[in-house]
């Protein structure tokens, strides 16, 4: 039995919904905007308490994001709650033009991201979202790792005054964020110190990276683990420090490797302090049929996969 198996695991959607309701009680500008996603975005409680402040545009993602930008123009703080694949894929041009380029304070909340929809297949997977959103200027991209960080991200986004994309986790994970962890724009969260190799992880991969580090400690390897909740803007100094102080960097994310965390870290590494790297993610293929756990393991996005990448990087593979 692994460490993870013994610990309680959490879906972050409840934390998201509770935090949004708590904020809405104190700030009447907050509205939720959804695309027939009241249930899947866990907005039933919000609707019960604030029926008029729950805007449902039906199954129409372009309209969803455009309307949210208009609500922001009218002085509201819209939290757009929709399944991540449709929000970021279908409405990408609205995200670019109406939200980011127009500098509107819209909080885009991608629900059930990554491969959370498992067996429903690649139409419902959102593994391209980090590449897409990271390419949009002026859009903050935030990937919380657990319920505590999700709450912090929601509070931060409501107050930020900026366009942002939050990836709200659904796949159940153990809590990894310390109670006193800061949540600041562009700041990483150090979770474990070490000087052989650094693992930088986001979202569902954070607990798996920690588990790998624990196992590797048994093999005499000292692994630093950093959680990088902000992909944009990236904590470049933490990356440079890791490149300088350890022998290499492994990144791990539930997303394609083309433009997400790994690509962001790599571009800092090659320009500021080159070091060996391994980039773990989904390697340019559509996923086969399987549940989320199966798919994560299938692509090596597991404690085993992270540990193997660390050993390879050190030439112990």
């Amino acid at each position: 039995m692994t460490v993870t198996d013994r610990r309680p695991v959490f879906d972050s959607r409840q934390a998201f919904a509770e935090e949004l309701i708590a904020l809405a009680r104190t700030d009447e500008r907050i509205v939720a905007v959804c695309n027939d996603s009241v249930g899947s975005s866990n907005l039933v409680g919000f609707r019960r308490e604030f029926p008029r402040r729950l805007v449902n545009v039906g199954i129409a993602e372009q309209d969803l994001v455009g309307v949210a930008a208009g609500l922001a123009n009218a002085g509201k703080i819209p939290f757009v709650c929709a399944a991540a694949p449709f929000l970021t894929g279908r409405a990408l041009e609205q995200i670019k033009a109406d939200v980011a380029y127009s500098e509107t304070h819209v909080v885009l909340c991608g629900q059930s991201p990554g491969m959370a929809y498992g067996e429903l297949g690649p139409t419902h997977h959102s593994i391209e979202d980090l590449s897409w959103t990271r390419a949009v200027a002026g859009l903050d991209v935030v990937v919380p790792a657990d319920p505590a960080q999700t709450r912090a991200a929601v509070r931060w986004a409501a107050a930020s005054g900026r366009p942002s994309y939050l990836r709200i986790p659904r796949f159940k994970v153990p809590g990894v964020t310390p109670d006193d962890a800061p949540f600041e724009r562009g700041r990483s969260v150090p979770l474990r110190d070490g000087d052989d190799v650094t693992v930088i992880a986001v979202g569902s991969l954070v607990s798996r990276a920690l588990e790998a580090a624990e196992r590797l400690q048994g093999e005499g390897l000292s692994v630093r683990v950093i959680n990088m909740p902000f992909l944009s803007p990236l904590d470049e100094e933490a990356v440079v420090a890791a490149a300088r102080e350890t022998r290499g960097i492994v990144t791990a994310e539930e997303a394609t490797v083309s433009g997400g965390l790994g690509a962001a870290v790599a571009s800092v590494v090659v320009t500021r302090h080159p070091c060996p790297m391994r980039i773990l993610g989904v390697p340019g293929v559509f996923a086969p049929t399987g549940d989320t756990s199966f798919l994560l393991d299938h692509f090596g996005l597991s404690a085993d996969g992270v540990a193997t990448a660390v050993r390879e990087l050190l030439g112990h593979g």
């Binding site: 545009v57 129409a60 309209d63 930008a69 208009g70 609500l71 009218a74 609205q94 109406d98 500098e103």
Partner: protein, 295 residues
Amino acid sequence: MLPADPPRLTEYREVSGRIRAGRPEDAVAELERVSADVRRSIVRMISRAGLGHIGGDLSVTDILVACFYGVLSVDPERPRWEGRDRFVLSKGHCAAALYSTLAHCGFFPTAELETFMAPLSALNGHPNKIKVPGVETNTGALGHGFPVATGCALGAELDGAPWRTVVVLGDGELQEGSNWEAAMTASHYGLSSLTAVIDRNRLQQGAGTEETKTLEPLADKWRSFGWEVREVDGHDHLALLGALERSTSGKPVVVIANTIKGKGVSFMEDRVEWHHKVPDAEQVEAALAELEPVR
């Protein structure tokens, strides 16, 4: 953001005040004079830039002038004043017409129009709200302004605020599906403070709208989506002022403004190639002569 132009602003307040206070019939001559000035600016801007969408600029001019001088409650000195009416140009490629109108209202100095599309100018080929006062959202990609305007109107509705929202769309632009998503949302929420104006010039970049993808029966489409439809001559200021009055039906209003692409310049009128052709020096002279204001 560009600063306001106080002398122009004073003139705008006087002219629009007279238009709003007097009988609409008396306003027409003033509006026609402003439209002619705006059109002449457009021709000069596009000639200087060597770029632009002159056909649509000239078809939408009277709509813009009627909105800003006769309808909208805006304050060029306080472009972000919370209680302002919202105006969205969804057909953002007609930025020259919008900039020219805004400058005539005093939102920024008319001298700035000379920088249209020049390197580092605030006046990009498509409007930018961060740089240009009077712009509410960055448009240019078609099918964006209408959903945003719908969100504005919904925000006003949620607050019970008295301000209204006017959005101007191209007719070719209606081929973008996002517009019909917004049309459904606006009628579902009963957004009677929202007015959409269609610049129905019947031409798009490559050909006529009906040849490209049929829009007719356009009025029936909007009616079936739950909108109150008003159809007018989009170059008749008196008719435009009437059609732009607030909804009394509880439904959002669409004004189908029948216009002529290239309006006011005989050799450009209703000619598809003038979608974004640039006039040469001789054509500019001829166009400016035809656009001599009625005084």
